[in-house]
Amino acid sequence: MKQEDIPQDPGALQNFTKEVSYAVDKDGKYVTELSTGWEVKIKALDVAWNDIEKKVADARQKVLNNEASPLLYFMELKLMNIDILSAYTGFWKWQVKRHLKPRIFEKLSDQKLQRYATAFDVTVEDLKNRHWHESGV
């Protein structure tokens, strides 16, 4: 890549940082220069976030239909999966899977809920409170 070809497209990095890019100057020598971002990359990130939003919306619907417990919604919202959630909370995977069922979730103690709340960085109230879908937690 030539120095003058270093992309300077606006993106999520704005107001945060610029990234160091390596490119050759007109004498063919490598130099570094800061770049604000590259459109190709920004679009790739957008695709990833669209996928996530879709999953969150699906999860929300499932919870509203009482097919899954609110934990599923928060799990998707925080980009986790059962493996990661199990690692953060210390529950076994089979336990997490169980807790994703609404009927089991209802019976969870506050102590257990707290472990989930800490992992999601929310309060136990947020987990129990059924209005999160309106407030957009």
Partner: protein
């Protein structure tokens, strides 16, 4: 407790941490490309049975932690690396280190990293940063991808040090044990070791998922994605591939440009003209990777949807594989002549 520390911004976090810490400890010759090359950072692997964020697990660089380890070992600098079970002990060890006036590097997860923009916060646990001081409850952080210093409270730092999931850092702390000057002779030898190891890893790793054959394997996979995964899923997969390649802090063309820069800097130590030629090949490879990314973006933006478009991308990767193979072959013969 604020140690005098010179912040170094780098294209990639682990290179940055390695170069920055070594400079701090007296290795004035080290730069980001040298750290990357001596640590044999260039790699390619597609792990077919693993998923990352529901996408393919592809890496354009070597395993996290190895660049620092190899570079220090090549330069004969002993390092200390600690993992912790207890958060309390992890904090204590870091505080003691800072109290003695020394910085320490930490492996952290980025999901809860407070100064990162939300868009970049995934559950990626192999980010590296340097803690350089503590004031009250705040830690002063030198993060190589940032332009200046950042701060974190002790709770925030603890949470990222104990991020969970794949590659969980377990509070990992590492640093060179002592300050040490390194002679140019040592750098020269380290460069040779680094190149040799990199040639080996790219050309001679058995199996078809790593090194050059890994690139070819990926090319074949991409051609099949449209049929096997459907349009939506293959768009996500391609986007993921581009994100891994152009991962924040690799600044376009991924790691190929950094490696080309390394070969140029190696030339200053080993004035063999062919090194510059091979450097140009890697620049070319980096450019081709960028072209492939542009092709991929056409697909994930929804502009290109035909099988033909996937074939083009696959062929681009095959061309890259051929070029890099040639470059590493040449490097393999040149390195024998370096003293």
């Amino acid at each position: 407790m604020k140690a005098e520390y010179k912040h170094l911004q780098a294209a990639h976090c682990e290179n940055g941490v390695t170069a920055s810490l070594l400079q701090h400890y007296g290795v004035h010759q080290i730069t980001e490309p040298l750290a990357f090359g001596i640590g044999s950072g260039l790699f390619f692997i597609y792990i077919p049975f693993m998923k990352v964020n529901d996408g393919p697990a592809i890496s354009f660089r070597t395993m996290p932690g190895l660049i620092f380890k190899r570079t220090c070992r090549s330069l004969n600098i002993s390092i200390l690396r600690q993992k912790f079970l207890s958060k309390e002990k992890a904090r204590q060890a870091l505080d003691n280190r800072l109290l003695s006036g020394h910085p320490a590097a930490c492996q952290v997860g980025v999901f809860y990293l407070p100064y990162f923009p939300k868009e970049y916060r995934f559950h990626f646990n192999a980010h590296n940063l340097i803690v350089v001081g503590k004031e009250g409850d705040n830690y002063l952080i030198s993060d190589p991808i940032m332009e200046t210093f950042a701060t974190m409270t002790s709770y925030e730092l603890e949470r990222v040090r104990f991020a969970r999931g794949p590659l969980a850092p377990h509070g990992q702390l590492y640093y060179p044990k002592e300050a040490r000057e390194v002679t140019d002779e040592q750098i020269k030898r380290a460069i040779v070791t680094g190149i040799k190891r990199n040639v080996r890893h790219m050309l001679y790793v058995p199996g078809n998922i790593a090194g050059i054959s890994g690139i070819r394997y990926t090319a074949k996979k991409i051609k099949k994605w449209r049929d096997t995964l459907g349009l939506d899923k293959s768009r996500s997969y391609l986007a993921q591939l581009v994100r891994m390649q152009e991962e924040i802090g690799t600044g376009g063309g991924g790691f190929r440009f950094i490696y080309a820069a390394f070969l140029q800097q190696a030339y200053a130590y080993h004035p063999v003209d062919e090194l510059m030629d091979v450097s140009q090949k890697f620049t070319r490879a980096g450019d081709l990777w960028r072209d492939a990314a542009i092709q991929a973006s056409g697909i994930y933006k929804g502009r290109l949807t035909e099988q033909q478009d996937y074939n083009v991308m696959g062929d681009q990767l095959l061309a890259i594989a051929a070029l890099e193979k040639e470059a590493f072959r040449e490097l393999g013969t040149i390195v024998k002549r370096l003293r």
